[in-house]
């Protein structure tokens, strides 16, 4: 394998193939507090070995513990472990145990074997929407559109009118109104904004004439977006001031766009891809890096913590999605995952048109740095999409994140602040919301006027 140096500004390198692993993070969501299995999950620190972990379990009275190391290729046979007190997954540093109350309290108070957490085992479901929801949303959008045609609101700020409910108008998306982008005099001129995602539809007519630097960090794929996610995020953060035939949906319409493709056309990427993209954006002196990606891992990753810190030292602010692993309607607030749970990386939550926390928007994670920093519009967000569809309306903390990064670009232009100072400016100027800070941090990002 060859060595590639990535320290020069213009250097960019294709990444040698890296093994893809099956994702167990996004796509599943934890169920409510009531939906537990009765078993408990014990999470161990990485530093100690398996022997210490198993010893800690046995010290708490769980004598019969099976280990995934006992099976070929760690393909644990569940039927062979049914009678065990617990099963230890050595690669994960996690055990699932059946414990009596006395054993449970012994585990929770144990200082042996590096036990980080003892948590009820949750029942997991594949993420899906209730049947008929799409139809109802479509119906509602149709009614909203009809109202707008018959009695245009002309971009009146709903909050200023005494209600807290925004909606798309003929002129602006609801998100641009809620963040005061619609009245801002700033354009992001002179600011380099990198979106590390699935690439960009370089043929999109709304971006003709823009300054775009595109680089793929996915072996065998060009920067051209084959998914749509990246094109949607770039649309929100950097879309045009006056798109022809539709409302304005983009924020920093004069920023220099840096497209770093770190997720492939199937929406998958690894640390290798992502770190290469961050390195490229930092080396190119991008002031703002927007990362609408995450893995549902609670523990802070040292690499992203350090990388975020070093990016700040180089003048680059990394803004990341909090994650969509909440299911609040059934009592599960979720948690901020990697990389947004790093202290040196901003975490963005999603709010809806009533400025309520989105059902899927993850809550602050108790690890140091795992807090939500700010919120952005992230429900029914209208933005650019792959041609020929051209536009799409979707939800997610992935959509809230480019609202924050676009506003960061406007604030960077207006104040000259970068890195930690820009972070402070974003939070200082955010509109406080009457919601727990663990859900929305300092509040809704606000553009300079």
């Amino acid at each position: 394998m060859t060595l590639s140096r990535l320290n020069n500004r213009e250097n960019s390198v294709m990444i040698p193939g890296s093994s893809e692993s099956v994702d167990a993070g996004n796509g599943v969501t934890g169920a409510g507090a009531g939906e537990t299995t009765g078993r408990y999950v014990v999470v161990f620190a990485d530093e100690d070995g398996e022997a210490a972990h198993v010893a800690a379990l046995r010290a708490s009275g769980l004598a019969n513990v099976a280990s995934s190391n006992d099976f070929d290729a760690q393909a644990l046979d569940v039927t062979q472990t049914q009678d065990a007190d617990g099963v230890f997954f050595s690669e994960l540093g996690v055990a699932v145990v059946t414990a009596e109350p006395s054993q449970l309290s012994s585990l929770q108070s144990s200082d042996r074997g590096g036990i980080l957490a003892v948590e009820p085992e949750l029942v997991f479901h594949v993420l899906s929407q209730p049947r008929g929801r799409d139809y109802m949303l479509g119906y509602r959008d149709g009614v909203t559109d009809l109202c707008e045609r018959l009695a245009p609101s002309g971009g009146v700020d709903a909050a200023a009118a005494g209600t807290t409910s925004f909606q798309d108008t003929a002129q602006f998306t609801w998100g641009l109104q809620a963040t005061a982008v619609s009245t801002s005099s700033r354009s992001g001129r002179g600011v380099k904004l990198a979106v590390l995602d699935t690439g960009f539809d370089l043929n999109h007519p709304d971006f003709v004439g823009r300054s775009i630097t595109a680089q793929s960090f996915i072996p065998g794929e060009t920067p051209q977006d084959g998914h749509g996610h990246g094109t949607h995020c770039i649309g929100t953060s950097c879309g045009p001031k006056t798109p022809v035939g539709t409302r304005r949906y983009g924020i920093a319409y004069d920023a220099d766009i840096f497209v770093g493709k770190v997720l492939n056309n199937q929406g998958s990427g690894t640390d290798t891809n992502i770190l290469a993209g961050i390195n490229w954006a930092v080396a190119n002196r991008c002031q703002v890096l927007s990362m609408s990606l995450g893995a549902d891992v609670r523990q802070v990753s040292q690499r992203y913590e350090r990388v975020g810190r070093r990016a700040l030292a180089a003048g680059s602010l990394i803004i990341a999605a909090a994650g969509n692993n909440a299911h609040r309607s059934v009592g599960d607030p979720g948690f901020v995952g990697i990389p947004a749970n790093s202290q040196s990386i901003m975490a963005v939550a999603a709010v809806d048109e009533q400025l309520a926390v989105a059902n899927f928007s993850a809550r602050s994670n108790p690890v140091r740095g795992g807090q939500i920093d700010v919120a952005g519009p992230g429900v029914r967000v209208y933005s650019s999409w792959l041609m020929p569809q051209r536009y799409n309306r979707i939800s997610g903390t992935s959509m809230a994140t480019p609202h924050a990064s676009g506003v960061a670009a406007l604030l960077c232009e207006a104040t000259g602040n970068v890195a930690g100072q820009l972070w402070s400016t974003l939070t200082q100027q955010a509109q406080r919301l009457p919601l727990p800070s663990v859900d929305v941090g300092a509040g809704l990002v606000q553009a300079p006027q």
Partner: protein
């Protein structure tokens, strides 16, 4: 063999290439050296991983994460 990311400590950032050389001597297949960030990507046989953690200037050796978006048709992204 595991794909890994090595985080280099602050006091060895300037000599990251030397750290990479020592990692290679200790059995790591070095893929990329990200000098701007102080991280090195690559892979290592399972039985050599511990020796990497002992290399001077190495702050952390962590296994690679995979990040996965929902399919384009998903209403929540």
């Amino acid at each position: 063999m595991a794909d890994i990311t090595v985080t280099v400590s602050d006091d060895h950032l300037a000599s990251i290439d030397e750290v990479a050389e020592v990692l290679r001597d200790n059995g790591m297949h070095v893929g990329q050296v990200h000098a701007a960030l102080g991280v090195i990507s690559g892979s290592v046989p399972d039985d050599r991983r511990q020796s990497l953690e002992a290399v001077d200037g190495v702050e952390a050796v962590e296994e690679e994460n995979t990040f996965q978006l929902p399919p384009p048709s998903s209403p929540i992204q």
